[in-house]
């Protein structure tokens, strides 16, 4: 990282915008934070790093007045402070953007940005001014959403941008962002970073929580690592590598982040062949082959149609034209039930909205997809519980009790539960959509291990991911989508970030790639 930032942290005459000293926090008998010291300076981007459950979100909530510490003190611009409420903090320019979006879905973009602080002309709301200001804010984020659009009609990424615009419109002194990039594409993340750098140059103190180490490397000036509720270290960002960060987070070396997954033979059976598929959800002409015992990666920008394609394939959305062959036979899945019968399982990327019943217990969630397996006329609860126990062991699901609610599990454990749920039908083809979104490094590498196990059992896996490193680390081939089409299928040493991005943005194969590699990218026409 650039060294211009060091001056901020080092200059003694600048007071920290917010300083926390000796913060302890307990929920009942459970202590989640132990004696934490933390400070953030004006004009600094301070990354907060740690595994799920390390206490990052709790610390941030205390700093922003959402929670009271059990003991310890806060100082705002050098003056001792107690936030009576989040409102009190907000009036002093402390703004927290939560992990979960907090928008009124039926209101327009502009109404959301100014919610509770509407600009008025006399008695009436001044929509013209509000729209104009909203437009400017969104333009800074390079977000093209219309200011009059209903928030529910926008993509999750745009919604996240609106949340950020809303926060920045409040003239923040201290801005907390809790995993803001979880739903953003690399391009959108870049726009966000541009904005954050501008805010930083204006003297805003920024605290940034993320699991993505390369993002932290790009944007952070300093990094504070928490582990098990304890402050592990605070270091200048340029002094550590990603490996150092990961090591500090988990407290051990992470050797072999990605497991070795053998590349299948060129002549391996084709288990799934998709040709010329189009849908009303934006897929124009998609085709690909999936081989036995391989990981086929799917890359693309947000909205390229990866999820839409997979959801159509398993019968969640109708396919208007095109054919699907499974093991050489033409198949048609009208419902997800048909795909399940054909032993195809899909793991949704929307773990909380579409994957798990957050208000139900773990066993109920686990068995829901494979319920027939445990049912003759009545559900055999003993068999169900036994299968859950076996899966919990296999997937290292750490839960206090099988009776606890899925919503109270950490992100990583929720993901393992969801994975156990879809694998319980013993599928032959497994489609994983963002299998590691928003989970910590430790759980991530475990999930990679599970994927390798599936392949070694002769099953075929499709992985959709916005993290290029994940796609590259896991896949033997990578299909890249752009605007509802598969623009290329990359193999071997064609699989590089640059090459994927070229196809993802619709540029096509680079001439460089042609020079360096003997093979050229396989296009859709060639495989179909």
């Amino acid at each position: 990282m650039s060294s211009s930032n060091d001056s901020i942290a080092n200059s003694l005459d600048v007071l920290p915008a917010l300083r926390a000293s000796g913060i302890n926090k307990s929920f009942g008998p459970i202590a989640v934070l132990h004696d934490i010291d933390f400070e953030v300076y004006p004009g600094e981007i301070h990354a907060l790093l740690g595994e799920n459950g390390a206490g990052k979100s709790t610390l941030v909530k205390i700093l922003a007045g959402f929670e009271q510490p059990t003991s310890g003190s806060l100082a705002f611009n050098g003056a001792p402070t107690v936030w009576d409420s989040m409102r009190d903090a907000e009036e002093n320019g402390i703004v927290l953007i939560h992990q979960e979006l907090n928008l009124a879905g039926l209101l327009s973009v502009e109404e959301n940005i100014f919610l509770g602080r509407e600009i008025k002309k006399g008695l009436f709301v001044d929509h013209t001014t509000m729209r104009k200001k909203s437009r400017t804010l969104l333009d800074q984020l390079e977000c093209r959403a219309s200011v009059t659009a209903r928030v529910d009609d926008l993509s999750v990424a745009d919604q996240q941008m609106i949340e950020i615009a809303k926060a920045t419109s409040r003239n923040a002194n201290v801005l907390f962002l809790d995993e803001p990039t979880a739903v953003l594409t690399p391009h959108e993340t870049k726009s966000l970073f541009k904005l954050l750098r501008r805010l930083k140059s204006e003297g805003v103190a920024i605290v940034f929580i993320s699991h993505k180490l390369d993002e932290i490397e790009q944007i952070a000036d300093r990094i504070t690592v928490l582990r098990d509720g304890k402050h592990i270290d605070t270091v200048p960002a340029h002094s550590v590598t990603k490996d150092d960060m990961a090591r500090l987070m988990v407290g051990r070396d992470l050797t072999e982040y990605f497991p070795h997954i053998p590349v299948p033979d060129k002549n391996a059976d084709i288990v799934l062949s998709v040709q010329g598929v189009a849908t009303d959800t934006g897929i124009v002409d998609a085709g690909f082959d999936l081989r036995r015992a391989e990981v086929l990666g799917f890359a693309g920008l947000q909205g390229a149609g990866r999820t839409a394609l997979m959801e159509a394939l398993i019968g969640l959305d109708p396919i208007t034209t095109g054919t699907i062959q499974q093991n050489g036979t033409t198949v048609k899945f009208k419902t997800p039930g048909d795909a399940k019968t054909a032993r195809i399982a899909y793991l949704t990327k929307d773990r909380k909205g579409k994957g798990l019943l957050l208000g139900n217990d773990l066993v109920h969630n686990f068995s829901l997809f494979a319920l027939e397996k445990f049912t003759r006329f009545f559900i055999n609860r003993k068999a169900e519980k036994a299968a859950f126990d076996a899966a919990a062991k296999q997937f290292d699901l750490r839960a206090a009790s099988p009776k606890m609610l899925a919503g109270s599990l950490s992100g990583g454990n929720q993901q393992k539960l969801l994975l156990a749920k879809v694998l319980e039908i013993n599928p032959d083809i497994i489609i994983l959509d963002e299998p590691t979104r928003g989970i910590d490094v430790g759980a991530k590498s475990q999930i990679y291990g599970f994927i390798a196990d599936l392949v070694s059992q002769g099953r075929s896996v499709i992985v959709l991911s916005s993290e290029l490193s994940e796609i590259i680390g896991l896949s033997s081939r990578v299909a890249v989508m752009h605007e509802g089409r598969i623009t290329g299928v990359l193999e071997g040493d064609q699989i590089t970030e640059e090459e994927i991005m070229r196809f993802a943005t619709g540029l096509g194969a680079s001439t460089d790639a042609g020079k360096n590699n003997t093979t050229t990218a396989t296009t859709v026409e060639e495989i179909s």
């Binding site: 419902t335 957050l358 139900n360 829901l368 027939e372």
Partner: protein, 321 residues
């Protein structure tokens, strides 16, 4: 521990009302009064068992009261017509009962298909069918009352007034339906699916559950329950009019909610619903036995109980967090 409290809540309320009733009037616990309370609870109780399914699946059915009146009207007209064709009165009654059952399930299917395939909210659909059935029964009765032929009625009478070992027939049916409902909701895949669809329809769909089918069947169960309640109601008075079954939908929903089923869906309790139906009848009964509160305030007391029940449940839910 907390879950136990949730389940026990309606039972504790029921127990408290029983103690209160005993303190007010010594005759309260007499066999006669208890049988009376159970019999009178059975109509709303049976309908509420069906409503537990619909509400657990995240829907609502406002049409049940009108549906009961309409089914009663059609059954009476049907049996009166059949009576002229045959002398076998048991056959007339059997045919009438079957017609009621088929009509009930069809009415439920209609509500279900309009909500799912028609993509109209259940509240709107059943508000519409509620008006349609109420108006149809008024039309069929020509604004007056439809009366069952006395010959048929004397054959049909035991279905309401009869008993086995001193237990009135309606109570036996109520109990049987409750057991059946409990088993289906808690021990079959369908019951699990109902509660999953109610908890989060997206999750259910992504778990390869045919959500439309689950909802339509829930409405059909509701229709069958309404038909069953009507089948034991018709021999009681032997008539149907535009005022038959008025406000039953609200009493049934109230019984379900008092019983601890979540109105937004995802969690249903048949046992609680049975307790809820009994609580509603008990309130009326106790008010009859005492002069302390006017009987005219029955509705007000019921209203307070409903609000209090939900308030307490929400309090418990919060603690759980």
């Amino acid at each position: 521990m907390i879950i136990n409290w949730k389940a026990a809540g309606p039972l504790i309320a029921l127990g408290a009302l029983l103690v209160l009733g005993t303190l007010i009037n010594g005759n309260f616990l007499s066999t006669g009064n208890m049988t009376n309370i159970l019999t009178r609870s059975s109509f709303i109780g049976i309908i509420a068992i069906g409503a537990t399914f619909v509400i657990s699946s995240g829907s609502i059915d406002l049409s049940v009261g009108s549906m009961a009146a309409f089914i009663a009207g059609v059954m009476i007209m049907f049996m009166n017509t059949l009576k002229d064709l045959t002398d076998l009165m048991w056959l007339v009654v059997l045919a009438g009962v079957l017609a009621g059952a088929v009509l009930g399930m069809f009415a439920g299917w209609l509500n279900g298909i309009l909500t799912t395939r028609g993509k109209i909210e259940a509240f709107i659909v059943t508000l519409g069918t509620m008006g349609i059935y109420r108006s149809l029964v008024t039309y069929l009765a020509d604004g007056g009352t439809l009366s069952l032929n006395s010959q048929v009625r004397s054959m049909y009478r035991p279905v309401y007034y009869g008993d086995i070992l001193g237990i009135p027939f309606p109570v036996i049916i109520f109990a049987a339906m409750a057991v059946l409902g409990y088993v289906v909701l808690n021990h079959t895949a369908y019951g699990r699916h109902v509660q999953s669809v109610g908890a989060n329809e997206h999750v259910a769909r992504y778990s390869a559950i045919s959500t439309d089918r689950v909802k339509i069947i829930a409405f059909m169960i509701q229709g069958a329950c309404v038909a069953m309640a009507t089948i034991i109601y018709v021999p009681r008075l032997g008539s149907a009019s535009s005022s038959t079954g008025v406000l039953w939908e609200l009493e049934a929903i109230a019984a379900v909610i008092i019983g601890g089923t979540l109105l937004k869906g995802g969690y249903g309790r048949i046992g609680g619903t049975v307790a809820g139906a009994l609580i509603l009848t008990l309130i009326g009964n106790i008010l009859n036995l005492t002069d302390a509160i006017s009987n005219y305030l029955n509705g007000a007391v019921q209203g307070v109980i409903i609000i209090a029940a939900v308030f307490l449940q929400r309090g418990i839910g919060k603690k759980q967090k």
